[in-house]
């Protein structure tokens, strides 16, 4: 950077000063603002920017990225729409990392951290990455990715000796063997975080996990697939600085290990984040000795009922992050509100619906939310599936939870009548009160939010950048009212609403910050021609037409599932993408208008 231009001054200050100061700016929006001030500052940002997140990989090209940020050290790329996590997007939709990996291999010599989320990765990509960047790669995250096998991971394990983080959580990996882990264990001694949670890799040898613990003295976080927990005694004994553990499996080998066997397990002393898969009431006491140290608890895949939750949570006063299913119930939330004053993040997922298969009291409603709002004042993130809701509970949240940045509520259809609908006033008070809210999801049912309610959402969501709306509004008027507000809304997802294509198009044009729109469930026109009202330069429009997919139902029988059409629209500097599968149709505005 000291390249002779150091003598240049801008406004009386040598540029070196700005370079040094700008280097301290890491927030993306600050950097964005800086780069727009003048050409010189654009150049400074260009050479000093360390990290870039590309929210949708099709918005730009690898070459464009290279032209601007040649010294990039860290890159995060996202591919498939969020709906892919819910099985709504065709597997071959797109989001291939190959063009990016090719450019990275060719040009980005400073890159040492890569995060691919919901993208398609092949073994060849991993091989190329390992060959070209293996020496310098410190962080590799294949987050909910698919398309690769353990062969690809073999290359990583062999060549990436400086890898501190290998994250594979929820990726669909074709398992050919367990050697990849062995190679990693042999070749690496700096690993700090290893995560293959929810990958269902079965050929993992616990001996290799022990080897990793022995060789990698800085190992701080380990989250694994289902591997009998009692086989990890050696691992836990060796991983002395471990702070986080997730996965394993309790009761995988009932003939070898009874419930009582688990009481002999001894965990590393600094462990403060835990999630034991299939942990039941009988094994729960093994956590008690260090429960007061726990800052993070994952009960999503545990076999606990509501009472068990109460017993456990009661012992965790330092809990900051809790993830569980709605079996926690309102009573569990009341215990949480009483005992866990430091709670920052709470995620309550939808548990079992089937009658008789779950704790009947294991349901969350407005009652639990009211307790939570008054008790856990430091909450920043709430995601919850409720069976009943009232305006008052939303008002409590708006009144008490001033630190809330992310609020997601889904109203389940379990209860036929929800007494206190619509939720117009509740959502208004919530949005007015939670002024820091940046992410907002409200998935309801017909009649739960009127057009007036939608207008409140538009009016009062001043900071919200991402929104997911499900079954809201009564008519196009509601959407149009929403789109007159939401000044900072960049990404909008809508499902099961009654809006017409015309209204969607107008909304897309009116929302001032909108750069990404996803919709499933809307009033389609015959040729999608109404959507053309939003056609403009740099705005890509894609359709996933309605499909019928054969997939296994809960009983394993093949059933035909109707998938209604999706609309996906986004700003792109790269023009229309060229890798469409046959399930996705680009809306070629020019061709349609000329037809």
């Amino acid at each position: 950077m000291e390249d002779g231009k150091a003598n240049k001054t801008t406004g009386g200050m040598p540029d070196t000063v700005f370079e040094l100061v700008i280097d301290f700016l890491h927030d993306e929006r600050d950097r964005d603002a800086v780069s727009l001030v003048c050409r010189r500052w654009y150049e400074i940002d260009k050479t000093t920017r360390k990290h870039v997140t590309i929210a949708l990989c099709y918005t730009t090209t690898p070459q464009s990225l290279w032209r601007r940020f040649q010294h990039l050290e860290s890159l995060k790329l996202k591919g498939k729409p969020r709906a892919a996590m819910f099985n709504l997007i065709p597997e071959d939709w797109g989001g291939y990392v190959s063009p990016w990996v090719e450019e990275i291999a060719r040009s980005f010599s400073c890159l040492n951290a890569l995060h691919f989320r919901r993208m398609i990765v092949t073994d060849l990509d991993l091989e190329l990455l390992a060959q070209s960047r293996g020496q310098v790669l410190q962080i590799l995250k294949l987050d909910k990715c698919s398309g690769f096998s353990t062969d690809g991971l073999l290359h990583i394990g062999r060549s990436c000796k400086k890898l501190k983080t290998l994250f594979l959580e929820e990726s669909s990996i074709i398992e050919k063997g367990g050697e990849w882990l062995h190679e990693l264990a042999l070749n690496n001694n700096v690993l700090e975080t290893l995560n293959f949670y929810m990958t269902y890799l079965a050929k993992v040898r616990f001996q290799d996990l022990e080897l990793i613990a022995r060789n990698c003295r800085s190992l701080v976080s380990m989250k694994i697939s289902e591997c009998e927990l009692m086989d990890l005694v050696g691992f836990f004994g060796t991983a002395s600085v471990l702070e986080e553990f997730g996965g394993g499996s309790i009761g995988e080998q009932p003939e070898r290990y009874s419930s009582e066997s688990y009481s002999s397990l001894s965990f590393p002393p600094k462990l403060c984040s835990l999630g034991l898969t299939y942990m039941g009431r009988n094994e729960m006491p093994i956590v008690f000795p260090f429960a007061s140290l726990l800052r993070r608890l994952d009960l999503l895949y545990a076999f606990l009922d509501m009472e068990d939750h109460c017993l456990l949570i009661h012992r965790c006063p330092n809990l900051e992050i809790l993830e569980t299913r709605n079996v926690i119930g309102d009573r569990g939330l009341e215990v949480l509100a009483q005992c866990c004053k430091r709670l920052r993040r709470l995620r309550i997922e939808r548990g079992e619906d089937e009658e008789g298969m779950e704790d009947e009291e294991g349901l969350v409603s407005h009652r639990g939310l009211i307790a939570l709002a008054q008790g856990c004042l430091e909450l920043e993130y709430i995601a919850v599936y409720v069976t009943d809701i009232t305006n008052a509970s939303l008002q409590y949240i708006g009144t008490y939870l001033k630190n809330l940045c992310d609020f997601r509520l889904v109203l389940l259809d379990r209860q036929e009548t929800i007494a206190d609908l619509p939720l117009d006033n509740g959502v208004r008070v919530l949005l007015q009160g939670c002024y820091k809210l940046k992410r907002f999801a409200f998935y309801l049912r017909q009649g739960a939010l009127t057009d007036v309610g939608l207008s409140y959402v538009g009016q009062y969501s001043l900071n919200v950048r991402w929104m997911l709306l499900g079954s809201v509004g009564e008519s196009d008027a509601g959407l149009l009212a929403l789109s007159k507000g939401c000044p900072r809304l960049q990404k909008l997802e809508m499902r099961a609403c009654c809006f017409s294509e015309r209204a969607l198009a107008i909304a897309a044009l009116q929302l001032p910050s909108l750069r990404y729109l996803w919709v499933q469930g809307y009033r389609a026109s015959e040729t999608a021609s109404d959507l053309l009202a939003m056609a403009r330069p740099f705005w890509n429009i894609e359709l996933i037409p309605a499909r019928r997919v054969v997939s296994p139902n809960a009983n394993g029988q093949d059933v035909i599932v109707d998938h209604p059409a999706h609309i996906l629209a986004y700003y792109s500097l790269a023009g229309q993408r060229t890798d469409f599968p046959n399930t996705v149709l680009p809306l070629d505005a020019v061709a349609l208008l000329n037809a």
């Binding site: 819910f86 009874s258 009988n282 704790d359 009654c498 209604p564």
Partner: protein
């Protein structure tokens, strides 16, 4: 005098006989395609339609004039009794409304108000069908976990519920409630909880002497 008849082909019989999609027609000067209405009405509950037609033929021209009788499945309390339609060129007097349904043809002399009401009724079903076509789906990871949980639960007993608890744990437990309070069960319910399969899995059939 011939007035313009409003024809609603409820079950797209015209479409089927023609063998190709009908071009959209204008109805009541509204920008709404006939196909829209057809598709919407075709999703209506046939029982509802039958009672519409029944009441229509009895109270000729007063299709929706009175409050619904409680035994009629037709109008649920949730449906609003529609007031005068916001409708530019209302013509006083009635117009024949022809309904084709399951091979029968019914003609009603209704005011435009009433015919409009029928259409609105049909439209209300549109948003309902959108919702029911789009059920909430679960995250993949949870779906898989719940499947495994189900497997473990059904493994616990050939009858698919967790009675083994009772069998193995002796008199301290009962599937019919009355759990001892120190065991932290506070209400009467069957022991169909997540911990059951692990009990079974660990204790096996042999350990009935436990506790």
């Amino acid at each position: 005098m011939l007035r313009s008849a409003v024809e609603l082909d409820f079950f797209q019989m015209e479409k089927e006989s023609a063998g190709k999609p009908q071009p959209p027609k204008k109805l009541f000067d509204r920008r709404r395609s006939l196909r829209d209405i057809q598709s919407v009405i075709s999703k209506m509950n046939p029982e509802i339609l039958k009672s519409v037609i029944a009441t229509g033929s009895v109270e000729n021209g007063n299709l929706l004039a009175s409050k619904p009788k409680t035994d009629e499945p037709f109008l649920s309390p949730a449906l609003p009794l529609l007031s005068a339609p916001a409708f530019g060129n209302c013509v006083s007097g009635t117009t024949p409304l022809t309904i084709f349904y399951k091979g029968t043809i019914s003609v009603f002399d209704v005011s435009r108000n009433k015919a409009e009401n029928i259409l609105k009724l049909a439209e209300e079903n549109v948003s309902k069908t959108v919702d029911s076509d789009l059920p909430l789906t679960r995250r993949k990871s949870l779906e898989r976990f719940l499947q495994k949980r189900k497997e473990r639960l059904t493994m616990a007993s050939p009858y698919g519920n967790c009675l083994p608890d009772y069998a193995f744990w002796g008199e301290k437990k009962s599937p019919y409630g009355n759990w001892p309070s120190d065991y932290a069960f506070s209400s009467e319910k069957k022991s169909l909880y997540g911990n059951c399969p692990t009990d079974y899995a660990f204790l096996g059939l042999k350990n009935s002497s436990r506790h």
